[in-house]
């Protein structure tokens, strides 16, 4: 069943009475929210949002799973993911060969997550946060060693974790997450 166009009318201009009513309604709803503000502001450094699983945050490499295929670098729309040629010693045979490893440049990354999705062995994964501070632009261009570590997340140390839940009355409600994962 396709959509159907329906003619609608804006409410008529009305006289003094409807204007008066409009003013009263506007002021009344203002007063209602004045006494019952219903806020859900996040007080940021003191609280932080613990993001849901599946959030496309910073990307980390599991080197042991990487098969050096280079798909991630090929699909990267921002040219943030690049391959770097490094020697690799095979633990089984003991031979050393040059191999291509992915490294990421967070100056360029747009967090589209294509690299994670295209990786055939799940060697890349997202961490569920994005508010990481780097001191200079240079160190945002990660090397292979840094790329394997989850970036340090200072927000976690400063604040309390909260999460937002969709609610019928309030829209969103802020729920504090206790250490053990209990809800308040």
């Amino acid at each position: 069943m396709p959509a159907k166009p329906v003619n609608k009318q804006v409410p008529s201009k009305g006289g003094i009475f409807s204007k008066f009513k409009g003013n009263i309604e506007a002021i009344a709803i203002g007063v209602k929210f004045f006494f019952n503000p219903q806020r859900f502001t996040l007080i940021y450094p003191k609280e932080y949002i613990k993001l849901k699983e599946g959030y496309r945050g910073f990307i980390v490499l599991r080197k042991d799973k990487c098969i050096n295929c280079g798909s991630c670098a090929r699909i990267c729309p921002a040219a943030a993911m690049r391959l770097i040629r490094l020697p690799f010693t095979d633990p089984k045979t003991g031979k050393t060969r040059m191999k291509l490893w992915p490294v990421i440049n967070y100056n360029r990354c747009i967090f589209c997550g294509y690299c994670v999705d295209v990786c055939p062995t799940e060697a890349l994964y997202h961490v569920p946060y994005h508010d990481v501070v780097y001191e200079t632009m240079d160190i945002m261009d990660l090397d292979l060693e840094m790329f394997q570590k989850e970036p340090e997340w200072d927000t976690e140390k400063l604040g309390l974790p909260v999460k937002y839940v969709v609610d019928e009355k309030m829209g969103l409600i802020k729920v504090k997450i206790k250490e053990e994962g209990e809800k308040q």
Binding site: I29, G30, F33, F34, P37, R39, T41
Partner: protein, 342 residues
């Protein structure tokens, strides 16, 4: 020792000085700071935000305004090369002074000893002084030599023609009821529950909206409307001078609120001034200031629920609705005087 102390107290409580500096400048300034905080907090509550918070979380961000004040005070005052320097600097100062001066004519008590200037035309004098300051807003817009400033100044000029007559007529209707232009007589006439807001609601409504118009409160924030004329006449101002401009508008609104309190809301009624400084001067002025502050709070609440009217619509409202309303209010006052309700 006590003689010196007495002398100091005497100087401070000398009515003209006390009234102008304490009641005219310091207390309204404090009230304005409170109102600015209240305005931001009100808007935040209605808009489901927290508002000022981080500067002092324990007192709900109360120090935020002090911080803002400091920022205005220590900010560099930039005077562009293209402006006409003398009027550019003098205009906001004059506007600020002229918004405070009307307070000398407003009595805060019925005891004659505590009048700064005793006169029987205080209503007319204070109104005349109050309607002077917008001229300097136009001047500052003109002196700024900026397109947006000039348009903002012109808007202010249009608005003056709209609200001045309305406000004056509405306030004068009180004179029509009592048959006197002395504010003391007007307040005395409102003893008990015979406040003029009840006796003459039409004039009160006209005066209330007229004050909104004259102090560019929402929904009539037109002369400084950010989305067409940036900051109107104040576009080129910065630092303390800008703060003065903004402060002048709020101070003016405070003085207007005091006027409305005295003329329509019974002044120091239901309190009757007694003997001595405290009972005869301090308490009645506190009563008036509290009433005026509540009025200010109502004014600032409108920011949260209204947008702004278009310039021609504001003029329409002033001329087609408020002006007849004020005339009707005046007529109602005459009628009540004729019937001898007072």
């Amino acid at each position: 020792m006590s003689g010196i102390l007495d002398a100091i107290i005497k100087i401070i409580t000398w009515p003209p000085l006390w009234q102008l500096v304490v009641l005219g400048l310091l207390v309204p300034l404090g009230v304005v700071i409170f109102i600015l905080w209240f305005e931001r907090k009100t808007a935040a509550r209605v808009q489901r935000r927290i508002g000022p918070y981080h500067v002092s979380p324990k007192i709900a961000g109360g120090l935020q305004l002090i911080a803002d004040l400091m920022r205005y005070m220590f900010q560099e005052v930039i005077i562009p090369k293209t402006v006409d320097k003398f009027p550019f600097i003098v205009a906001p100062l004059a506007a600020l002074i002229l918004s405070i001066v009307p307070v000398v004519a407003i009595p805060f008590t019925s005891i004659k000893a505590y009048f700064p200037i005793d006169m029987s035309y205080s209503l007319i004098i204070s109104l005349a002084l109050l309607t002077l300051s917008p001229l300097f807003i136009i001047l500052s817009g003109w002196a700024s030599n900026n397109k947006f400033s000039i348009i903002g100044g012109m808007r202010e000029a249009y608005l003056i023609t709209a609200y001045e007559l309305v406000a004056v007529l509405a306030f004068l209707s009180a004179g029509a009821i009592t048959g006197s232009f002395n504010l003391v007589d007007i307040v005395e006439a409102q003893s008990g529950v015979k406040w003029f807001i009840i006796l003459n609601p039409l004039a009160f409504a006209a005066a209330f909206i007229g004050v909104l118009l004259s102090t560019s409160g929402f929904p009539f924030e037109i002369a400084e409307s950010e989305h067409e004329v940036v900051a109107g006449a104040f576009t080129e101002y910065s630092g303390l001078v800008y703060g003065m401009n903004m402060g002048a508008a709020y101070l003016k609104r405070m003085i207007f609120s005091i006027m409305i309190t005295v003329v329509f809301l019974g002044g120091w009624q239901p309190y009757t001034p007694g003997e001595g400084f405290i009972a005869g001067y301090l308490v009645p002025s506190i009563v008036i200031l509290v009433k005026a502050t509540i009025l200010m709070m109502i004014f600032s609440f409108f920011r949260a629920v209204y947008g702004r009217y278009r310039l021609d619509q504001a003029l329409d409202i002033a001329w087609k609705i408020l002006f007849p309303l004020a005339v009707l209010g005046f007529g109602l006052g005459l009628l009540e005087a004729y019937l001898g309700i007072i």
